[in-house]
């Protein structure tokens, strides 16, 4: 059996390629994100849709409004395929992978900025533009989080890389230096 990530990667890649042919990547992404939001808001929905004891026709009626509201044919079909193969629980992962490949193509970077006090909009903009130059992205979307234990400075987390400029880490480094 395929593991979940490989499965999601394959589906999202296929979807991305067909949508790209149709020039409908952006509308598709918007739809997928709104569908994902529905699943995130109702955690039990995913469970119900893959539950074997839940009657099939009810599953269809549950998913029907989502299919009907969708404008893009391929997204509609994706939902139908997933429902048919009882893989509805993969949807959120597929959407995440889809978003990631979209971001990669368009050089959009999502980053978490962890600071001691909430950042002002101006600070955010400065940080985003500095980060943009560093990683060579077209657009940086910053998400501000607050963590008091840092003492000072900012930590930027983006995909697998951490840019650590916090006072806490610096103090730890000095500690190591003095103890060695």
């Amino acid at each position: 059996m395929l593991d979940k990530i490989t499965f999601a990667k394959r589906y999202s890649k296929a979807l991305y390629e067909v949508l790209e042919e149709q020039n409908a990547v952006e509308t598709g992404l918007k739809e997928l994100l709104s569908i994902k939001q529905v699943f995130v808001d109702n955690p039990s929905l995913e469970q119900a849709l893959t539950d074997v004891s839940f009657p099939e026709d009810k599953k269809e009626s549950l998913i029907k409004p989502l299919i009907d509201n969708s404008d893009v044919d391929y997204v509609k079909n994706l939902l139908k395929v997933l429902l048919g193969s009882n893989k509805m629980d993969e949807l959120t992962l597929i959407v995440e992978e889809f978003e990631q490949s979209y971001n990669e193509k368009n050089k959009i970077v999502h980053a978490d900025a962890v600071s001691v006090v909430p950042l002002t909009d101006e600070q955010k903009d400065n940080l985003a533009s500095a980060f943009k130059a560093r990683v060579g992205a077209n657009e940086v979307i910053l998400d501000n989080k607050v963590d008091q234990s840092l003492i000072g400075g900012v930590i930027l987390k983006s995909s697998n890389v951490i840019f650590d400029g916090s006072v806490k880490t610096k103090i730890n480094n000095i500690k190591k230096l003095l103890l060695s």
Binding site: D3, I5, T6, K9, S159, N160, V161, I162, F163, D164, G165, T169, K170, N173, I174, L177, L178
Partner: protein, 509 residues
């Protein structure tokens, strides 16, 4: 002795001078699975194979499997504190161990940390545990002998410095004892010995260390132990860590003897790891690269060219067989990698021939060149004598009707076997080995009763130490037998004065 505040602050300033206010950039991943000494992590996109990775709680891991979605990591330490979802950082370094002179005389673990309670080891250097073995141009052929102090090895399967000689046999046939005796015999030979215990009981290792200490061998020995209670990854890397330490000394032009005790357990540890990492199993469920695991380890034993200092590393890997089956997977692999093997036979061991070295199946492919000339002269016919003795032994049971030649062969064979017996932890210097073998091959022992041979040997050595030390010194200094009949005359002189036990008793009565 007092340090004033100014000195302290000066010291702190000096240390702080090295501090650079840099933005720490770290590549991380998230642990998705942990168990049985193995973890898997998402992320870590740029991780290298064999790279050292650091978990949140300061425990290190080594990247093993680089797959499309995740990285398989072996955890070098306690994996019970690692949780799913924990972050893991790249260090950019590959696995290293500290190396240095201070390690001599110490007992360490696979990571080079002391485990003998004698305090920190101060080392400045580190070496990667996986390193490519010296190439063709970096080597020269094996030419110097490594004296094990065991008669049957030095005479029949001589080992040279830089050779790889496998010690193979069933459990409890004296494999480790041969290795330990060899280490004991390296006293004052300007050798560094490394004993790598892989999966050996901690109590056994403790008693080995006690033996080495008792005979003063810890002055030039490093013991590296990965006990059976350690996680499998530490057992797997132990021999590589030992080899890295050995290479450090070898590259300084020193001579190193390294014992891997034993590679069967290392192979088992690696099999465990590989199966948990979901690598496909092959024969006997070992992974496909088990041969390479051992060949790249043993290839690191070498005799370096004079340009590189002429140092050497001699490897004595040990492999355990089940019921004498040398055609199992690991034994055949290691036999084909090494330059010969010393086969220990459990039947011989239990019948009292100790060390139980089977002369028929034991070989040394390169050691002959390293044997000293005197030994070659006296030991040349030994193997043949033994072989024909074993062949005729079956007939001997019929008793009387044997011609004289057969009778003589049987006599010689029984005495040869008796001479090759040697007690535990009693290595003999080479000149004395030559002496007793000389007496044997020149027929001086033929008239001595088999039961008297051990006593004959001790008294012969005492006699030569007292009256003919010059002849022994001649063998040591020139490596050849003394010219003329001096040696034969001296042995003859002693043999005439030797009083057999039987006669002694009759005289006493």
């Amino acid at each position: 002795m007092s340090i004033n505040a100014e000195e302290i602050s000066a010291l702190i300033k000096q240390q702080l001078a090295g501090f650079k206010d840099e933005l720490a950039v770290e590549e991380t991943g998230v642990v998705t699975y942990v168990g049985d000494g193995v973890a898997r992590a998402h992320g870590l996109d740029n991780a290298l194979s064999g790279e050292l990775l650091e978990f949140e709680n300061g425990i290190y891991g080594m990247a093993q499997n680089l797959e499309s979605n995740d990285v398989g990591i072996v955890v070098l330490g306690d994996c019970t504190h690692i949780r799913e979802g924990a972050t893991i950082k790249r260090t950019g370094k590959i696995m290293e161990v500290p190396v240095g002179e201070d390690m001599v005389g110490r007992t360490i673990n696979s990571l080079g940390q002391p485990i003998d309670g004698k305090g920190d080891i101060k080392t400045e250097n580190t070496r990667p545990i996986e390193k490519k073995a010296p190439g063709i141009m970096d080597r020269q052929s094996v030419s110097e002998p490594l004296q094990t102090g065991i008669k049957s090895i030095d005479a029949l399967v001589p080992i040279g410095r830089g050779q790889r000689e496998l010690i193979i046999g069933d459990r409890k046939t004296g494999k480790t004892s041969i290795a330990v005796d060899t280490i004991l015999n390296q006293k004052d030979q300007d050798m560094i010995c490394i004993y790598v215990a892989i999966g050996q009981k901690d109590s056994t290792v403790r008693s080995q260390v006690a033996t080495l200490e008792k005979f003063g061998a810890m002055d030039y020995t490093i013991v590296l132990s990965a006990g059976p209670s350690e996680p499998a990854p530490l057992l797997y890397i132990a021999p590589y860590a030992g080899a890295a330490i050995g290479e450090y000394f070898m590259n300084q032009g020193k001579h190193v003897l390294i014992v891997y005790d034993d590679l069967t357990k290392q192979a088992n540890a690696y099999r465990e790891l590989s199966l948990i990492l979901r690598r496909p199993p092959g024969r006997e469920a070992y992974p496909g690269d088990i041969f390479y695991t051992h060949s790249r380890l043993l290839e690191r034993a070498a005799k370096l060219s004079d340009k590189l200092g002429g140092g050497s590393m001699t490897a004595l890997p040990i492999v355990e067989t089940q019921a004498g089956d040398v055609s199992a997977y690991i034994p055949t692999n290691v036999i084909s990698i090494t330059d010969g093997q010393i086969f220990l036979n459990s039947d011989m061991f239990y019948s009292g021939t100790r060390p139980a070295i089977d002369a028929g199946t034991s070989v040394s492919r390169v050691g002959g060149d390293a044997q000293i000339k005197a030994m070659k002269q006296v030991a040349g016919t030994l193997r043949l004598d033994l072989a024909s003795y074993h062949e005729l032994q079956a007939f001997a049971q019929f008793g009387s009707d044997l011609d004289d030649a057969t009778q003589a062969k049987l006599n010689r064979g029984a005495r040869t076997e008796e001479v090759l017996k040697q007690p535990l932890h009693a290595p003999l210097p080479v000149e004395k080995q030559v002496l007793i073998l000389f007496s044997l091959t020149h027929g001086f022992l033929d008239k001595v009763a088999v039961d008297d041979i051990q006593r004959y040997q001790t008294e012969l050595f005492n006699f030569f130490d007292a009256s003919h030390r010059d002849l022994l010194d001649h063998i040591i200094s020139t490596g050849k037998l003394p010219d003329g009949d001096d040696l034969a005359n001296a042995v003859d002189e002693f043999t005439k004065s030797f009083v057999p036990s039987k006669q002694e008793e009759t005289q006493n009565n």
